[in-house]
Structure formats: structure tokens, C-alpha cells
Amino acid sequence: MLDLSWVMVGPVSGRYLADLGADVVKIESARRIDPLRTLGPFKDGRVGRERSVSYHNLNAGKRSLAINIRNPRGREIILRLAEWADVVLESFTPGVLDDMGLAYADISKRNARVIMVSTSILGQTGPHAVGASGVGTMGAAMSGATFQLGWPDRPPVGPWGPWTDAVAPRFIVASILAALHRRRRTGEGCYIDVAQAEAGIQFMTPSLYEYAANGIVPQRRGADIAPTRVPCGVYPCAGDDKWIAIDASDAKRFEALRNLIGGDTHDRAFDTLIGRIRARERLDNAIADWTRTRIAEEVERQLQEAGVAAHTVSRAGDLARDAHVLATNHLRRINDPVIGEADIEGPRFALARTPHAEIRRGPRIGEHNNQVLRELCGMSDAEIAQLADGGVLETNTG
């Protein structure tokens, strides 16, 4: 895979393929570094272009070639790598690759079987596409997601982080794998265009249908997100900003809950679902009175032992210590020459017979320049040296 993308959507997509064993060559620049290298968490909180653990997390197992692709000789290297690649992935602002002569039309001339994916905030076509660059918070805003998360008396807050950066890779990777399957049967390659905002709409389709079918524009509802399920919500626990999520709306789970916490929850008004819906606030207060003084993890343990669906609203520290996360070996230790040891994430699914590749660290900028040019482009050391002298190859100066 030739990975021309940066920041998150493209790199996450490429990471899936690297984990499946693909040889992913990431093109970057030492002069205009991947913005992900400027985003934390940084190892031990110390900022540096080779210190972003997020970069490792999304680029684990890839090789890095740092070249100036605007230079004609740099462009020729990209085209040679495109001949080698099964998949080419890019996330430039629409129009930029056309200007560089590296669009699908140019790439497919050199490799008719290639599967090339372009991903951008609004896609390659449509009246607002060309020139539209954006980040995942904007994708969330334009997919209708941001508007629906927040309190009615305040502006929308939206989902945390650049939401569509986590959503779009699913549609990109599924599309690539389906296209590879077809290519194995028919030999056909293709061009794939994924708009990140449209990927976000997929996860929000039920509320889009609510508008399209019922004419209702879903509004932000604060914590009132489950009007048909009571009790179902988050309740405060001891400590700073610690919460427990409880979903005990079905009859059996509610009986288990009230038997555990007692007190006002035994009020006969709560015996029925309709009773609980009508007295929701009173019931929520009774539950909160019980949780408020208790440790979230302990509440989770007690409720689960009683058969009530509950979980701590996990924070960073909770995730790092979580029994399930640890037992599934989700956090993998890498050892990097610059930052030393750090944890990154492993895959989110398991294949019983053909396990994922061992999780490796991400590359340093241009770490594999010589290797890639020699192995994949068939260049001699003299040719490589020429490229370096000509400023086509970039080396890490940071």
C-alpha cells in the first residue's frame, strides 16, 4: 500500500491494512510534517516531532519515505511506487493531486489494476467539493452529529474529538477489502471516493430517517437521551468527575437494582415501567443518592454481580487499567529509539486462524528512505545519493 495520507483518517485506514500484514509505505515530508506529529499524547508530555505516541498509534508497522513530491523526480518515485502498490490512499484537498499530475488518471496509466482511494471531508465531486479541506470536527458538524450532542439551554458541544476521523476509516477499509476481493476474481482495479462527512451520516442514519420520514428535526437533549428506558443514565460517584452508567430499564434488571440499593427505589410507584417513566426524576435521584458516595469501580462490580448492566464512564486511567482491555492484550508496548517504551493500541477484532501482524512502532520521518528506494524502486546507492543531493529526498532535521 502506498499511503499518501496524513493526520488521522488515512493513517487509521492504512493501519488496518498494516495490521493485516500489508507492506504500507507512508510518504511524508520533513519540511511540512504530518500534523499528527504535532498532536499528543507525547511521550512523557515532552513535545517533539518524533515524540507523538498518537503518531505511533495510527502508523504502527508502516515504513516512511520522506520526499518532495512536488519535485518532478519525487513525482516519478510516487509513480514507480504506484506501479508496485495494490492500493494507493490519499487525503489531499480535492484538486491538489490533479495539479501535481498524481490523480487516479495518472496513477492508473502506470498500474491499471490499482485500487486508489481518495478521502476528504466532502468528497471529490459535488458543488462544494473542490478545494474543500477540513478536519474531523467539521465532518461531525456537517454530518448532523454535532448538532445533536449538547444541552438544550447551551450551544451544541458535539462528540469529543475529530469524530469522523474515527468513523470514516471503517467505510474506507471495507471498500478497499471488497475491491481487493473483486480484483482477485476479475483483475479489475478501481477508484474509490469516500467523503468523511457522508461516512458520519451513516452512523446517524436513524435520526436522518426521523427527519425524512417523520419531518422531525432531532434536537440536542442533554442527558435525556433514552425516554423509553428508565432507569438508564449516568450517575455521579465519589471523586472528581467520576460517573457510573446504569441501564436497568427491563423488569428483571430493575428488580436486581432495587434489591441491591434499597431505600426509596422500593416505592411502589417504580414497580412498573410506566410508573418509572412518570417518576423518572425521583427515581434518578434515589439512585444518585446511593452512587454519590461510592467508588465507581466498586459500584460497577456490585451492580454487575447483581446482574445489572452497568459500567464506569471510563476515563483514560480507567482504560489503561481495565481488566478487559488488559486481558485482551489491547495495549501493546512498543520500544522506539527516540522515545523509549510506550503503549499503543492493538486491533479491535481477532482472527482465529490468520492472526494480525505483530504490532510494531511507527516510523521516524524518512526512516526507510534508502530501503524503500532500493527494494521497491530498484534504485542504486548512487541514484539515491543523487536524489538526496538534489533535495528530493528529505531527511529528518528536527
Binding site: L20, Y104, N214, F349
Partner: protein, 403 residues
């Protein structure tokens, strides 16, 4: 693209998105529901706010392009039928809670994917769970919302979207292996790990030698100045990102120039360097400059409509967009012009536009070939065609409540 692939989906909320992605990519997907209907048929919202097994809009959204049978897979007949049926498929999708009986032999080519809220075995595998509980465990809500109020969750269940889309990737990965060597395998997807994708760097904060950061507030403060992310405008809200550095700073520079051109910040500020982070000793804007700019932008936004801000952002290269509600999404000329939508009839005489084309291909097009299936719509056909059951045998299964 997957027109040679057949998928049997033991329907549950967590399988629905997986089956739909595969169906959209061309696979023949058949969902198996209990005679009382899949739990997915009881998910809100409902058509015209009237509940009913054919009225769940969530079901409609996530089951387009599939066919459906009903079968009590826990009855002796049901076990036998599902076993013979599943062996004829390439991919079986199921959940831990609603799985095929373990005794079933699917043969060596079938890819069997099980989605569990946490895991099939080990810590928390026995947890009582729901979509909401899985989301709570993902790390994302703990960072979402105002710190003086509880964490926020979407009303639209999201763990099922995360788990389902991850499962689509998982089975297609196993399919790649099978294309090489002919053998299927067992695949396990954790809804919780899939949903953790939404928490971005949170899972690796501690393991990289850092401390937790508190929710929201601090993140939007630069050089002591509070910067909103959602800005109120004349008819709603817009998102404006103010960021610095070589990648994003130039857009902030253009944003300040726009505010100056519109007369809402002093012209001097348009000429200040906004690539450097305010307060940077190397020069650039001061914290006071930033405060003045934020206040000016606030006033400017109030004079503009969502579409006007979005238009200015496109024209000038500013990192800003409208915060769309679902009407805006439906009416956006961009999505429409691009061909996102395909019509789908969700009830007799009721056709709506579905955002079907999550990807556009040079030589394939995602189409809505059929609406979500009605309960048991294809039971008789499939039991007859696939397994050769006679009409009277099929009636017997119905009489005894097995289908």
C-alpha cells in the same frame, strides 16, 4: 463487488451495520430473526411515532438490501435448519448473546464472526450490557460535554454502529485469507474495543507517561482566552476552528482577515502573524489580540446565516463549517449534487431518500436494491429454494411456531 458472497446474519443490533455494509457492497445477505422479530425492529424512532414491527426507522436504515427469514434457532427443527443453511453461506454474523448453537458444524470454508459487547471469554465477558453501557466503557463520553454537567451520549445508539462497521472489516479480512487458501475461520469483534476508536488518544495517555486531562473546558483555552467551538449565528450555530502552526495557522490568518474585512476586528490584527500560537515569545499575536478577535468573531457570526459562514469558509479557505441539523443534511446541495441519496420505500406509498452511497466507485455503484425486509418476508422462499422443504413442511413449521 461482493456479488459472489452470501451472508447469513443472525440479527441483533450489533450485526445490523455489518450486514448492511456487506449488502451495499453487493453481497446477498439474509437475516435470521426469531418468530417474534429481531430486537432491531424495536429500536426507536418509529414511523409517524407509532410503534410496530415494520415501523422502526432504525431497522429500516440498517437493513436495506437484505432479505429476511424467521426461525426459532433454539428448537430442534430450527437448529437443524440453521445448521444446513449456514453451511451454504460464506459468512455468518452473530452476537455472543444470540449465537448459533455451538454444536453446529459449518464446514471449513465458512467465516463465522461473533460480536461480543466486551469479549467472548475473560474479564467482563459475562457483563450485563447494552449499547449505552458499551459506550460508557469506550472512553469517549468521559471527555464529552461541559465539565459542570454529566458526560454526554448520542440518542442514536452508537456501539452498534461501531461494532457493526468493525465486523464488516473483520469478515472481509477473513475473506482475504480465504481467497488465498480456501479456509474460513472464527472471527471475534469486541464492541467495546471498536467503540474505543472514538476516544482517540485516551487509551494510550497513561502508557505514554502522561496524566489524565480533565473534561472539555481546558482544551478550548489558549493563552488564557476561552475559545468556543460552536458559535451562535443568525439561524443556528457554526463551527469555527482556531488553530495555529504551519498546517492550520494560515487558515486562522485568513479567518482574522475576514473578520477585519467585515469590520468586526481592527485591521491591524489582520496583519498580525497568526501562524505562531498567541503568546509565543517568537512574536505573533498577544493574548489580548486573541481575546479581541474572539469577541469580534462572536459579533460577526451573529450577523451571518449558517450557509453564509460556510460559503465564506469555502471561498476564503477558513477552517469553519455550518453545524448541520438533519434538515440541513437532507437539503445540502453538496450531498445531493454528489449523489449520496437513493430512494427507498419504507412503507406502502412512503418513499424517502436514504444516504446510501457511503463510498463512490469508478466501476461500481451502491444502490438500494430493496427496502428492509418485512418480518418473515422471505421465509417460505428461502426454506423451499435453499433446503428443498415442501410447502406442507413449511406450513408445519409455521403451525408450530418455529417460523
Amino acid at each position: 463487488m461482493l456479488d459472489d458472497i452470501r451472508v447469513l446474519e443472525i440479527s441483533a443490533p450489533d450485526t445490523m451495520m455489518a450486514g448492511r455494509i456487506l449488502a451495499d457492497l453487493g453481497a446477498d445477505v439474509i437475516v435470521v430473526e426469531p418468530p417474534a422479530g429481531s430486537p432491531g425492529r424495536r429500536l426507536e424512532p418509529f414511523l409517524a411515532d407509532i410503534p410496530g414491527l415494520e415501523r422502526s426507522l432504525t431497522w429500516h436504515a440498517l437493513n436495506r438490501n437484505k432479505r429476511a427469514i424467521t426461525l426459532d434457532i433454539n428448537s430442534p427443527d430450527g437448529r437443524e435448519i440453521i445448521g444446513s443453511l449456514a453451511a451454504k453461506f460464506d459468512i455468518v454474523l452473530e452476537t455472543k448473546e444470540n449465537a448459533l448453537p455451538d454444536s453446529i458444524d459449518l464446514g471449513s470454508r465458512v467465516i463465522r464472526c461473533t460480536v461480543a459487547p466486551f469479549a467472548k471469554t475473560g474479564p467482563k465477558s459475562d457483563y450485563a450490557a447494552s449499547d449505552f453501557i458499551v459506550m460508557a466503557s469506550s472512553g469517549a463520553p468521559s471527555m464529552t460535554g461541559d465539565p459542570d454537567r454529566p458526560p454526554l451520549f448520542f440518542a442514536v445508539p452508537q456501539a452498534m454502529m461501531e461494532a457493526g462497521s468493525e465486523a464488516a472489516i473483520a469478515v472481509l479480512s477473513a475473506l482475504a485469507a480465504r481467497d488465498r487458501d480456501g479456509a474460513g475461520q472464527a472471527v471475534e469483534v469486541s464492541a467495546r474495543l471498536a467503540a474505543m476508536m472514538l476516544s482517540f488518544g485516551q487509551p494510550i495517555v497513561l502508557g505514554s507517561g502522561n496524566r489524565e486531562i480533565p473534561r472539555a473546558a481546558v482544551r478550548n483555552t489558549i493563552a488564557g482566552v476561552d475559545i468556543p467551538s460552536a458559535w451562535e449565528c443568525a439561524d443556528g450555530f457554526v463551527l469555527i476552528t482556531i488553530a495555529f502552526g504551519p498546517a492550520f495557522g494560515p487558515m486562522t490568518q485568513r479567518l482574522v482577515k475576514w473578520a477585519a474585512d467585515e469590520g468586526h476586528v481592527p485591521v491591524r490584527l489582520a496583519e498580525t502573524n497568526w501562524v505562531l500560537t498567541p503568546g509565543d515569545p517568537a512574536g505573533g499575536a498577544s493574548p489580548d489580540d486573541l481575546r479581541t478577535t474572539v469577541n469580534g468573531l462572536r459579533a460577526l457570526c451573529l450577523t451571518k446565516k449558517k450557509t453564509e459562514v460556510a460559503e465564506a469558509a469555502r471561498r476564503l479557505g477558513i477552517l469553519a463549517s455550518a453545524i448541520f441539523d438533519m434538515r440541513d443534511v437532507a437539503e445540502s446541495p453538496q450531498y445531493r449534487g454528489r449523489g449520496l441519496w437513493t430512494p427507498v420505500e419504507i412503507a406502502p406509498g412512503k418513499t424517502i431518500d436514504a444516504p446510501a452511497r457511503f463510498a463512490q466507485f469508478s466501476n461500481y455503484s451502491i444502490e438500494t436494491r430493496r427496502p428492509a425486509p418485512k418480518l418473515s418476508e422471505h421465509t417460505a422462499t428461502i426454506l423451499g429454494d435453499e433446503l428443498g422443504l415442501s410447502a406442507s413442511e413449511i406450513q408445519a413449521l409455521f403451525v408450530h411456531g418455529i417460523i
